[in-house]
Symmetry: C2
Subunit: 288 residues, 2 copies
C-alpha cells in the first residue's frame, strides 16, 4: 500500500482513537510501535508524540521532536548516539521536501497539549528544521522542529484538471518561509545584496534580491537573536545550504562543505559587519 | 526625516483618521495626495487603498493594488501605460526585499472592507508578488499583490542586544513563502531535485533539495492551477528569478534572461513532463 502524505479524508483534526491499533486501521499512523512512520527515500507521513523521549518539547503549535534510536524503552533515557537513518532520515527528508506530517498526540505527552487518554489526531505540521543535539543524557540525538501548518491567506483551492502521475492525496504545505526584519534588511543593504558565500547577486527589476540568514537559528529552541552579528547576506541557494547544514563556517571565516570538509571559499566581508564566533560555533554544533 | 518601515508604535491596526492630513501627522502615510509612500531606492512604507483605480481588487486579507501613473484623476480610468518608477518601483523593491507596508483603507474603496468614512489603518502587509498587466482600459498597469502579514507560529520576540546601525523601528515580515504540494513533489522527484534551469542539485543530509515553481502563479488573481504542466523543478535561486521575472521561458523551451534577451540555456526536460505553452505565455505576459 503506498504511503499517504497529507490528510486522511475521513479523519478531521481532533479525532480521538483509543489505541495504536485504531490509529493504524484508520490510516492515520500505520506502525503499531514506532513513533515515526516513513522511510528515508519517501519521507515521514506521520508521527506520534507521546512523551517517550526525555528530550521532546511540546509548545502546542510547535513540537520539538526527538528522533529514534539509542534510547532505553523502559526509562526513555538515551543510552547511545542516534543516527540519521530510518525514521530520522524520513523526517529530515520531509523537511527538505516540504512534506506534510500528520501529528498524533498520545496521553503520555505534555499534559498541556495531550489528550487525557488514548490518541488524538492534531492535523498537519511541517518540519521547519532539523539538527543534531546532545540530549539530556549526554548522547547525540536528532531533533526536528515541527510547526502546525495553516493554509496561507493567498492560497486558492487546487482546482484544475487532475494531474498525471497520480500524486495520491492532495496537500499543500509550507516548505520554507523567509522572513525579513529591520536587522536582516540592514545587513542585506550593507552587502548590496551580494551573497557572502558565492558572490552572486540576483537581479530583479527593483534591484538586488538576497535573504538575511540567521546563523544561530531563530525560534524555539535555538532562540538565536535577531542581531547583525548573527545574520549573513546570502543568495537563496546558500541560505538553504546554511540552514540544512550543507555548509558551515569556520572561526577563520572560511565556508566549508560539511560533507567533504573542503573549504569552498572565504566568507565575503563588509566593513562594520562581522559574524560573532559564538553563533558560528552554535551552527556548527548542530551539524558536526 | 528617515522613512519608517513597519508599525508606528502609537497606532494600532483599526485606528481611524478623519483626513489625509491626520494620517500624515500620525506618521502612518506621509504624502497628502499620493497613494504610495516610498522611493525606488528604499521601498514603499505605506499605501492608501481608496478605490481610485478601476483595476484594484480587495479581498480583505489580500489586496491587488494597481500602481500609479497614466490614469485620469477624475474618472480613475487609465489613459496611458504605467512605468516601473517612483511608487511602483518602491512597491517592487518592498516585494523583493520583504519590507512591510502599512495599508490604509479609505472610504472610497470596496465597501466590504473599507471604513464608512475617513481612513482606517489596517496593519502590515507584505508584497507577495508584482507583475505587469493590461488594465480594463487597455493600457499597461503594474499590479501588486499584498497579503496581510501574520507573525509566524515559530517566531520569538526579537530580544538580544540592540544591533549597531540602528535599523529604526523593528519589524518582522514575510519575504517569501515556498509551499509544496503533492503535484510539485511529483515534479521534483521526477527531476531528482535537479534544477531545470541551471542543472544544480542542492545536496542535504536527506538527499536533494529543490522547489516546485508554478509557472502561472497560484493565488488571486492569477489562479494558476496546481497541475504538473504548470510546475517546474527549480533551485531556490532560479525559483526567485522566475517569480520576479528575471527569466522567462520561450515556446522553444529556452530560458531567456528577460533584461538582455539572451538565451541562457535550454530548459532541462524529463520524460513525461513538459510545461504547457499557455502557462509559459502567461508568465511572459506578466513581464514583457
Amino acid at each position: 500500500m503506498p504511503r499517504t502524505f497529507g490528510s486522511i479524508s475521513a479523519v478531521p483534526p481532533g479525532a480521538i482513537f483509543n489505541s495504536r491499533r485504531e490509529l493504524a486501521d484508520a490510516g492515520v499512523h500505520r506502525p503499531l510501535q514506532a513513533g515515526i512512520s516513513g522511510s528515508g527515500a519517501e519521507g515521514a507521513d506521520s508521527i506520534v508524540v507521546s512523551g517517550g523521549y526525555e528530550d521532546d518539547a511540546d509548545y502546542g503549535d510547535v513540537v520539538v521532536y526527538t528522533g529514534h534510536g539509542g534510547n532505553d524503552p523502559g526509562s526513555g533515557k538515551q543510552v547511545a548516539d542516534q543516527i540519521l537513518e530510518r525514521g530520522n532520515l524520513a523526517l529530515a527528508r520531509s523537511s527538505d521536501q516540504g512534506l506534510p506530517v500528520r501529528v498524533v498526540r498520545g496521553a503520555g505527552g505534555d499534559p498541556a497539549f495531550s489528550p487525557a487518554s488514548g490518541y488524538r489526531y492534531d492535523g498537519l505540521f511541517f518540519v521547519a528544521e532539523y539538527w543534531q543535539d546532545i540530549g539530556k543524557s549526554g548522547y547525540r540525538v536528532w531533533r526536528f522542529r515541527l510547526v502546525q501548518d495553516q493554509p496561507s491567506a493567498n492560497e486558492t483551492p487546487a482546482g484544475g484538471p487532475a494531474p498525471g502521475g497520480d500524486p495520491g492525496v492532495k496537500y499543500s504545505t509550507v516548505q520554507r518561509v523567509v522572513r525579513n526584519t529591520a536587522v536582516t534588511q540592514w545587513v542585506k543593504e550593507l552587502h548590496d545584496f551580494v551573497c557572502q558565500v558565492c558572490g552572486e547577486r540576483l537581479q530583479t527589476d527593483s534591484g538586488g534580491y538576497a535573504e538575511g540568514a540567521h546563523i544561530r537559528p531563530r525560534g524555539r529552541p535555538h532562540n538565536g537573536p535577531d542581531v547583525i552579528k548573527n545574520v549573513l547576506c546570502l543568495c537563496p541557494n546558500d541560505h538553504v545550504r546554511l540552514d540544512r547544514g550543507a555548509i558551515v563556517i569556520s572561526d577563520a571565516l572560511e565556508v566549508v562543505d560539511r560533507r567533504t570538509g573542503t573549504v569552498e571559499t572565504g566568507l565575503r566581508l563588509a566593513r562594520g559587519h562581522r559574524p560573532d564566533l559564538q553563533f558560528l560555533a552554535y551552527q556548527r554544533s548542530l551539524w558536526k
